[in-house]
């Protein structure tokens, strides 16, 4: 009984740890309503770091979703990056982006920079 219980716990923990990276790599992306015009007062290279450090190419997802060295960190990297800035602005009383409710950023109806490009075209 005791050994069986311990073995069961070990199997579940190992399955979670070993299988989770595969699931994270294969997880579908949520839509993101990112308004480029709202962020033009930021330094470009704050987001487009590949302009100066030559570490990437094309869009963010080209590396952050498909490159295995950073793909598993996509959730904390993007969330910390966006949310920290929004929280800092809100704390100073400045207009800030959303940082609490998921659907304020992750929604289908929001205008994205890519949608704007399509609309202009």
């Amino acid at each position: 009984m005791r050994l069986g219980s311990i073995a069961g716990v070990v199997v579940v923990v190992l399955a979670t740890i070993l299988y989770r990276p595969t699931m994270m790599r294969n997880a579908e992306l949520l839509p993101v309503a990112f308004e480029h015009l709202d962020h033009v007062d930021q330094n470009c290279v704050q987001c487009h770091h590949n302009y100066v450090d030559d570490t990437g190419y094309d869009s963010c997802y080209s590396c952050h979703k498909h490159d295995l060295s950073v793909a598993l960190k996509i959730e904390p990297m993007f969330h910390d990056f966006c949310r920290t800035c929004h929280i800092d602005k809100a704390a100073l009383g400045d207009p800030s982006g959303p940082f609490r409710v998921c659907v304020e950023c992750h929604n289908e109806g929001g205008r994205t920079s890519q949608n704007l490009k399509l609309q202009k075209g």
């Binding site: 997880a27 659907v103 289908e108 890519q114």
Partner: protein, 214 residues
């Protein structure tokens, strides 16, 4: 909330309190558990109702800060069920007691990690340190008291009586049903994030085409 009544029975017994008072404390411990389960249920379902995107946090691919909370909720459910069906499980009191303490510590540690790492309410190191101390303090005192003074043998006495009982078929059936539901839930959580057929590149292209992004 759960740790404070857990300390009291041990102190009560060790210092010669009346058994009836101990029963009241144990009932309080049980009822606080029901309250916590209700709050956890409202927390999970309420967030999903308000913001459907949060269902992503129930997948195995969720960040550790959220996955820890899911595991903690499951552990809390296992603690409650294993306590309600202790006699039917036919486990020695000492073994059950050790698992109960171990799983309680795990649930509290995982919940604390969830609150601290999610970063929604505690955004400075001082606040995080104070919160961890407030959570860990009563738990460590409870654990220390149990090791230092020994634990109540009331449960062991009950266990002696219960061991001679045969498992009632209806309750045994309920236990098996709950176990089966638990297994199905875990399988669902694992399978939920299994991708559709095709390569990841194809899926991302389909995803973008459906949303008209590129």
């Amino acid at each position: 909330m759960l740790a404070l009544p857990a300390i009291a029975p041990r102190v009560w017994v060790n210092y010669g309190g009346h058994p009836r008072g101990l029963q009241y404390l144990l009932y309080l411990h049980r009822d606080v558990t029901y309250l916590v389960l209700l709050l956890v249920f409202i927390h999970i379902v309420g967030l999903i109702v308000v913001d459907q995107t949060t269902i992503e946090y129930l997948k195995l691919s969720a960040p550790w800060s959220m996955l820890s909370a899911t595991i903690a909720a499951v552990v809390l459910l296992v603690i409650t069920i294993s306590s309600l069906f202790r006699a039917e499980l036919n486990v020695r009191y000492r073994a059950w007691h050790n698992w109960h303490i171990g799983m309680s510590i795990a649930a509290m540690a995982l919940t604390t990690f969830h609150i601290v790492d999610a970063g929604f309410y505690l955004n400075s190191s001082i606040k995080k340190a104070v919160f961890v101390t407030l959570v860990a303090g009563p738990s460590l005192v409870s654990f220390g008291v149990s090791r230092w003074r020994g634990t109540s043998n009331l449960g062991a006495q009950q266990n002696q009586r219960q061991r001679v009982l045969r498992m009632p078929s209806a309750r045994a059936g309920s236990l098996r049903l709950i176990t089966l539901l638990g297994i199905l839930w875990f399988v669902w959580m694992v399978c939920f994030a299994i991708p559709e057929a095709g390569s990841r590149g194809d899926r991302q292209a389909n995803q973008c085409a459906a949303r008209g992004c590129d």
